[in-house]
Homo-oligomer: 112 residues x 2
DNA sequence: GATGCAAGTAACCTTAAGGATACCAGGATG
DNA sequence: CATCCTGGTATCCTTAAGGTTACTTGCATC
């Protein structure tokens, strides 16, 4: 895919697809927390400040639908459940890095 | 700024700053329309499908506050007003390109 | 046998983004 | 002089994201 060959309508559509997945309040904090090793539901709730069970539950489902997180059930007694970032999740790194850079520079730019 | 040296809290903060500017429904369509040469208010209203005057007005103010758009008043009779993307706006290109690429690939990934 | 924990679900509420519609002032145009 | 165009405001309404609080089931633990 060569970006320069896309029409502006196509560009907007692709950007909106990205925003649809990434633009909520909790997507990135949850992903980062899982990535940092918090793989159990209760661990995540404790490590992501102020998130509620309802919202965490919904975020995890959405992230699973988007193939960024894998949910695994273990037949322990009682059953335990683990959330892990998928290999595909690594594809987000260039994008997230750009977001970090731009956000960092933008705050400086605006304060001038 | 070296990304790897940032704490996860700092990374999240910078990403949220970026999302705060970019994550609405109309920011990018409006920027792209201005960039494509629609520089008058009414031209923009016509070239961005379904945007209302109220929302366009607000978007333009926000984009101006974020230094991405420059508003110029000309003492013609009657006064005419032009909106143009700022030089700083070009700093968005790497980010937007990453969003285009990821959105494009994500749709393919999800449909597998 | 009461209490606690994991992994959630259910029901209801608040707030902010965005949409719909109407309107306005000042000049231009027929 | 009536209507049109530009560049917007003002008011009210809808919807969706997220927040609050309570509850549940099945096991384990004291």
């Amino acid at each position: 895919m060569e970006i320069e060959e896309l029409s502006t309508e196509q560009k907007i559509k692709h950007v909106q697809d990205t925003l649809f997945v990434m633009s909520g309040k909790w997507e990135l904090p949850v992903l980062i927390a899982i990535n940092a090793g918090n793989i159990r539901f209760k661990d995540l709730q404790r490590s992501v400040p102020n998130i509620t069970t309802k919202v965490l539950s919904k975020e995890l489902k959405d992230l699973e639908i988007n193939k960024l997180v894998v949910r695994t059930i273990y037949n322990t007694s009682p059953v335990s459940i683990e959330y892990r970032v998928s290999p595909y999740c690594k594809s987000l790194k260039p994008l997230v890095d750009e977001m970090i850079k731009w956000g960092y520079n933008h705050r400086i730019e605006i304060s001038k």
